[in-house]
């Protein structure tokens, strides 16, 4: 049924400000997330991501501005907001000293399920998240990945229309991370609106429809992953030479084309202007120039844009123009 209700954005934030003492953590933030969208709030530690999500989840009071979740004001109707949201990640934890099954059953009961439904649902979720064998063990014996999956399961007991995931995979090893990503993807295909925070561009890229980049309390860019990367970060060629002498020669030969120089690893980087054939031509020109001048190449590589690049680019107005040292791969 199409009603005016369904056209409401799931999350609507206008003019949101929050300070801790003299520190302004959120500075006039506007944000809108449509129902069914997955938005990644991407930024470094201390950018204001967690503060933002805590306010949206009714856990923290904003100084000013308006926040509506599913049309309800977080300040005036927190209970109506709470029945629509699930919290996971750094935001809300599970009980270490209970078993996985006891955790999910308890949270189900606290969310107004009947005892029988709470037990049934707990069993379903344990199975869906591959935790059925561990369901009877205390959570403190779980691995990091298992714990995060249980945590995510705990936020999905009543299948809320909106789920907040605060740094869902931080400190997980790559395989545990992929398992969790798969779980999040399934959640998304069921139509759940998701707001996730991360400081990892790859994670945002993997999961989100829309990425909002937040830095020092302000949203400084917003768009699809592809659009942002095209706008802010282009791939780089990395050329590593065997000696510091060769490095000096390479830097002077490449001139303006050299974007960054890392003296420790003797690597010079060149920004790739194009992803297609022109990019390849540009790359070949660099290799040709170096080899015709007799500069030996030890290693050659391509590096995709990282959050670092995105940030440097977006905040470059504030920084003094000087050769930046590339991070070694």
């Amino acid at each position: 049924m199409l009603t005016a209700q369904s056209a409401l954005p799931m999350i609507s934030v206008t003019g949101l400000c929050k300070s801790y003492g003299p520190t302004r953590v959120l500075d006039d933030v506007d944000l809108e997330v449509q129902s069914g969208q997955v938005l990644a709030l991407l930024g470094p530690n201390g950018a204001g991501k967690t503060t933002m999500v805590r306010i949206l989840a009714t856990l923290l009071k904003p100084d000013s501005g308006e926040v509506r979740i599913g049309g309800y004001d977080v300040l005036h109707e927190p209970k109506k907001v709470r029945v629509q949201i699930g919290l996971s990640g750094q935001l809300a934890s599970v009980d270490d000293k209970l078993t996985g099954l006891d955790n999910l059953t308890m949270f189900g009961r606290l969310q107004r399920l009947s005892h029988r439904d709470a037990v049934t649902r707990a069993g379903q979720l344990l199975e869906e998240f591959g935790l059925d064998a561990a369901g009877g063990r205390a959570v403190k014996t779980y691995s990091g990945g298992m714990r995060r999956r249980l945590d995510l399961a705990a936020s999905l007991i009543v299948a809320p229309p909106l789920v907040f995931l605060d740094e869902p995979t931080s400190s997980l090893d790559p395989s545990a991370r992929h398992v969790l990503w798969d779980a999040i993807r399934v959640l998304v295909t069921n139509g759940t609106t998701v707001l996730l925070t991360t400081h990892d561009l790859d994670e945002a890229d993997q999961l989100a429809d829309v990425i909002a980049i937040i830095d020092r309390g302000r949203i400084i860019a917003r768009g699809s992953a592809a659009a942002l990367k095209a706008q802010v970060g282009r791939p780089r060629f990395l050329v590593t030479v065997p000696t510091s002498h060769a490095l000096a020669a390479a830097v002077s030969l490449l001139g303006d084309r050299a974007s960054t120089v890392d003296y420790d690893t003797r690597t010079v980087s060149v920004i790739c202007d194009d992803r297609g054939v022109d990019g390849f031509r540009q790359l070949r020109a660099v290799v040709d120039d170096l080899t015709t001048s007799g500069i030996p190449i030890e290693e050659f590589g391509l590096r995709k844009p990282t959050l670092d690049d995105v940030f440097q680019q977006l905040t470059s107005a504030d920084t003094v123009a000087m050769p930046r040292v590339a991070r070694s791969q």
Binding site: R54, A57, T58, L59, L60, K61, P78, K79, R82, V83, I85, L87, Q90, L91, A92, S93, V94, D95, K97, L98, T99, D102, M106, F107, R109, L110, Q111, R112, L113, S114, D117, T120, R121, Q124, L125, E128, A138, A154, L156, I157, V158, A159, A183, V186, L187, N190
Partner: protein, 268 residues
């Protein structure tokens, strides 16, 4: 495949949810005991150590007069000391919940959040009961000879559990004021100080005069003297009523302060 959304919340009165949420959180705290039985060790071991210490090391030097054996005198004091010891767990459990992320999950649920405090307090009563059983058994083994009838026992245990209950709420207040579990643990030891200045281990008449004035009428002494008299089938006089008044009053005040602090810290 992650399913869901087919389960509908049930509709019940607000009062139903207060009871239901509280019982869920009581179950949670009791499961903590089951999954982490270590916490019972402290509750059971310390009273045993105290009984043995006072009975065999210090008891020889303490003469209480009136022809009563020291162990018979001592047990009433150890009952209440155990109550105070057990009550400290609420403070550290509350502090742990407040500093770990779990409080945020509870807060984000449409639940009766004070159930969290109630859960810890009731679990303390269970721990206290376990401590009492262990202590009585050890006492009997080393010469404790109670002459209490069923009604006396019931009254003595009732008073001890009331003291635990009241002190658990005081402990909850400490847990909500302290900024870390460690600080709360240290502050919790303060609950023990008034026991030293009571009739727990020696008759108050042997204390220095200013201390005696305090010790004679303070709530710990009322509870201890009452429990002691009941177990020895003596007339507790006014001690029982005074103990009920004191500890009932402390429970009401501490409960109110704890609930207020909790609401303040758990609403935004």
């Amino acid at each position: 495949m992650i399913t869901g959304g087919t389960l509908q919340p049930i509709r019940r009165s607000a009062a139903y949810w207060v009871v239901s949420d509280s019982s869920e959180l009581v179950k949670r705290s009791l499961r903590h005991i089951r999954n982490d039985p270590d916490q019972l060790v402290g509750v059971a071991v310390q009273p045993v150590v105290l009984v043995l210490l006072f009975r065999f090391f210090l008891g020889g030097a303490i003469h209480i007069g009136g022809g009563e054996s020291y162990i018979n005198f001592l047990m009433g004091g150890i009952f209440i000391e155990t109550a105070a010891l057990t009550a400290m767990t609420t403070g550290t459990s509350v502090a742990a919940d407040m500093t770990l992320g779990i409080i945020d999950r509870f807060r984000s649920l449409p639940m009766f959040t004070s159930a969290l405090l109630i859960g810890h307090v009731i679990a303390d009563l269970v721990r206290s009961a376990v401590g009492l059983v262990v202590m009585v058994l050890v006492g009997l083994a080393v010469g404790f000879r109670p002459s209490a009838g069923v009604a006396d026992w019931a009254a003595a245990i009732g008073i001890t559990l009331l003291v635990t209950f009241a002190l658990s709420w005081v402990s909850a207040v400490i847990g909500l004021l302290g900024r870390s579990v460690e600080v709360v643990q240290q502050l919790g030891l303060l609950l023990f100080l008034p026991i030293l200045a009571s009739s727990a281990f020696v008759p108050t008449s042997t204390l220095a005069a200013p201390l005696q004035a305090f010790a004679d009428d303070q709530p710990f002494t009322q509870a201890i003297d009452s429990v002691r008299a009941l177990m020895l089938h003596q007339d507790p006089g006014d001690h029982t009523w005074l103990a009920l008044l004191w500890w009932g009053g402390i429970a009401v005040v501490a409960f109110s302060v704890a609930s207020w602090l909790f609401q303040r810290r758990s609403t935004m």
